[in-house]
């Protein structure tokens, strides 16, 4: 027997046994099965398995009879009538009132929260640069309170006696006026000034 045709038939055997092939294909498979023993055996095994499944499904079950189906019909119709009554009945007082009660409660809570609340305003702050903010007595992170300095207070930028300035401002002036490549005298060490 041609192995190619066996392979082709085996691929179709499941559908052949399940009666899913069209007439021409089924005839071709049938004629092959008449001649090929191994494919016939395979088809027989498939058919037996299928028959076994059907036989088990059709085996009698205890308690399943016309009386059970009549009782089931009554149960189904009773359940359907219950469902129908539930659908038709107006919603209960609780279900009708509940949305309004929830909305009212939400309003009361919201009103209580916002009644004494004053929105912050920028006018509540001190104008920038006009005063020194009172030092904070306590800071949550323990940072020492630093007083704000007025912008007009140029004591920090006051040039030092050598004309080069002090601190960062002095260095800036040095680089701006003389250039980074210029041979500038070494900056004096920072001096802590006594106020």
């Amino acid at each position: 027997m041609n192995l190619d045709s066996c392979e082709r038939v085996l691929a179709q055997l499941d559908w052949f046994v399940g009666d899913d092939l069209d007439a021409a294909a089924a005839t071709a498979v049938r004629s092959h099965l008449r001649e090929c023993v191994s494919c016939r055996a395979e088809a027989g095994a498939l058919q037996r398995t299928r028959n076994t499944l059907r036989a088990a499904a059709e085996a009698a079950c205890r308690g399943v009879d016309e009386a059970m189906f009549a009782a089931m019909h009554d149960e189904v119709m009773a359940a359907v009538r219950d469902q129908e009554m539930r659908d038709a009945a107006p919603p209960s007082l609780l279900r009708r009132v509940l949305p309004f009660a929830a909305a009212g409660a939400l309003f009361v809570v919201g009103w209580t929260v916002v009644r004494h609340w004053v929105p912050p305003s920028v006018f509540d702050r001190e104008p920038i640069g006009t005063s020194v903010v009172a030092p904070r007595q306590a800071h949550p992170f323990g940072v020492p309170a630093l007083p704000l300095r007025l912008l007009s207070d140029d004591s920090v930028e006051e040039p030092a006696a050598d004309g080069l300035g002090a601190g960062m401002m002095g260095r800036w002036r040095l680089r701006t006026l003389e250039g980074v490549d210029a041979t500038a005298p070494l900056l004096p060490p920072p001096v802590r000034r006594e106020h």
Binding site: D14, W15, G18, D20, L21, D22, A23, A24, A25, A45, L46, T49, R50, T52, L53, R54, A55, A56, A57, E58, A59, A60, C61, R62, G63, V64, D65, E66, A67, M68, F69, A70, M72, H73, E75, V76, M77, A79, V80, Q83, E84, D87
Partner: protein
């Protein structure tokens, strides 16, 4: 070449699964037995001239009997599909009942251009698969330590041969091991006889995916089935 399958609208509703203990004609929902039902409901359910869509239309108009007729037409199928997926009678009853309640609640959403049973089976399958997953997740926590497991109601009658009983038990054990997505396709195709084209919209998958899952499900089932019994545990 695979057989071209007709669309849902022209294909008659498949009815290959014959409920255990029922007459063969009971597989057809229009000629099934509706014993124990009010005569008006039984007449509506058995009336072949009244389609499912027409019953839905009448139910939407506020009548009770048409919906009861729909329940009568589909309760056996709903039960058996649920049973073959979840594997327990009580659970299958719960799933079937819940399916009808869901159906009633969403009746207004029914698209009359589509087939009713596809829509309804989707509800049943979704609930059944959800139920199965819930059972499995719960079983992993609480049922593992019960020796022998739960009592199985799927026993064959007392006069059935012992081998047949064992064989059926093994089939159900294998089905319980299958992934729900494979099991769903296997149940719908090989037990209930729906085509892959019908299964696809029920499970909200493509036709190709339905075919692949069916092929894979059969393959896995066969592998387990042909494995020696000792290896099953």
């Amino acid at each position: 070449m695979l057989r071209p399958e007709p669309s849902d609208r022209v294909r008659p509703r498949p009815a290959t699964f014959v409920a255990p203990g029922a007459a063969p004609s009971a597989a057809n929902h229009h000629t099934g037995s509706f014993a124990g039902l009010p005569s008006a409901v039984a007449a509506l359910a058995g009336a072949g001239g009244i389609s499912d869509s027409e019953l839905v239309r009448r139910a939407l108009a506020g009548q009770h009997d048409p919906f009861a007729a729909l329940v009568a037409r589909y309760q056996k199928r709903a039960f058996w599909i649920a049973f073959h997926v979840v594997g327990r009678i009580e659970d299958a009853r719960d799933v079937a009942q819940e399916s009808f309640v869901r159906l009633f609640r969403s009746l207004e959403k029914y698209d009359f251009a589509r087939s009713f049973y596809t829509w309804f089976y989707r509800i049943v399958m979704n609930l059944a698969i959800d139920h199965l997953r819930k059972i499995r997740s719960g079983a992993a926590n609480s049922l593992d330590d019960i020796p022998g497991g739960l009592a199985d109601s799927r026993e064959a009658p007392a006069d059935a041969p012992m081998e047949l009983e064992e064989q059926n038990g093994r089939v159900w054990q294998i089905l319980e091991k299958l992934d729900p997505k494979f099991r769903a396709v296997l149940v719908l195709r090989d037990i209930h006889g729906l085509s892959c084209r019908e299964i696809a919209p029920i499970l909200k998958i493509t036709h190709a995916t339905a075919r692949w899952r069916l092929h894979k499900g059969r393959q896995v089932f066969r592998e387990h089935w042909e494995r020696p019994s000792g290896g099953e545990a």
